[in-house]
Symmetry: D2
């Protein structure tokens, strides 16, 4: 069974384009970040509240493959999946596509490490790990 994913939609902003007439390649990392934010919210918490409680997720690796360009004013969907949970690291996968056609634009993966409020690597707090290992509420709806 494929893992459930959580979706977020966005409209491409003018300032996200570059003089090639397409979205600048670095912008997709910010869209993946939006995807993670919504994934964690769907689990019943929020990344903002995790940070306030002293659990930070920092990007340790990022890998992106650019299949087709997004353009100004396009509606985009980011499909985010949590594909691996370790004691000190999480892996998220992303499919970025046109919202209407579903055509694939970018696929990406990020490895996140867990830091405490002093930016030191720590294991995931037990209650966060419990949360992450649930299937997101409504993700299969």
């Amino acid at each position: 069974m494929p893992l459930p994913h959580v979706d977020v939609e966005l409209r491409v902003r003018y300032g996200e384009t570059d003089q090639m007439g397409i979205v600048y390649h670095a912008e997709y990392l910010a869209w993946c970040d939006m995807g993670r934010t919504e994934y964690i919210r769907r689990l019943g918490t929020s990344y903002a509240s995790l940070e306030q409680a002293g659990t930070l997720l920092a990007v340790a690796e990022a890998n992106l493959r650019y299949h087709a360009p997004a353009r100004y004013d396009d509606m985009i969907r980011v499909e985010t999946t949590l594909t691996d949970v370790r004691s000190r690291a999480l892996t998220f996968d992303y499919l970025i596509c046109h919202a209407a056609s579903g055509s694939r634009l970018v696929t990406a993966r990020t490895l996140m490490v867990v830091l405490d409020g002093n930016r030191r690597p720590v294991p995931l707090p037990r209650e966060v790990r419990a949360l992450l290992e649930r299937i997101p509420e409504g993700a299969l709806a």
Copy 2:
């Protein structure tokens, strides 16, 4: 006598352009910020150390006039002047121009308010005010 200004140069990055083929208008605010950073460094301190000591400068107003566009790979000069020092606010003026020709691209002004480490408005610490009211070292050289 015109006030001394402090200059910083930068080269336009590809991602700073938009699909109009010119620099996106919001990017100039980040260049003004670079100008302030260098202005404060020339006074003999650094904005990074001011923040660490609990004195923050937050932008309260920003005004920009766009005269001509900057383009990818252009060398740009930001000329920054501290034009007003009040007990709780500073005004900086900026002239952004082509480094080689000096032709004017953008003129801007920002009003900065002083915050403490808890983000509350405070008067400028006495020693910072003393520093700001000096003529920047070497600014007339």
Copy 3:
């Protein structure tokens, strides 16, 4: 009678914050841009199609007042009003506020000049001016 405004909502992205823990001041210009895009769409066209037809709107002046900071994950509303239409220039006003409370964060104004496909100043095409002078469809709904 107050002019009708067109609203767009967005959620603050992590990368839009800075080390002060609030949204970086330059980001609000991009949010105003989103407001303009939705304003023009509500008129029954789109800025993307205006550009393709050779009518560009370039920012000639921007003025921002920062009243209170936006923070990561906040839901934000941008209320955009077209306050002046001249033959060669448009003025847009923006109120950026918290979506839920309506509390005011930033007020801004931009002056836009009209350019043709060769980036030369031109009068607004007659059909665009007609469009802009209508009350946006549904704006009073």
Copy 4:
């Protein structure tokens, strides 16, 4: 013999930080882009002139590993190496480090594909390939 690399230095901008107090992870891709720009300039041409002549390099893959964070006002060095030249694709490697200490912050690789002025994949023009296969002028100096 290690391949020669071309270096460019930059100072971290305030707006490049996020509320974690470090540089936002997407910004490093823009720094790699600065590295490519300087690499191509050292070869005796410029990416700006390649684009004007109808040869575009688009990012097809990007891989980043984050070893340690950069902070506001740090001086950073980007060391760029062209590690592979194919008829239709180029691979660049990047080492991003503190300029003074040389301590490693981020390592990255991008795969670039060659497009013509109509954004269609094409082989590298013969004269560009000749240029790229030279050792950069002065890179070993």
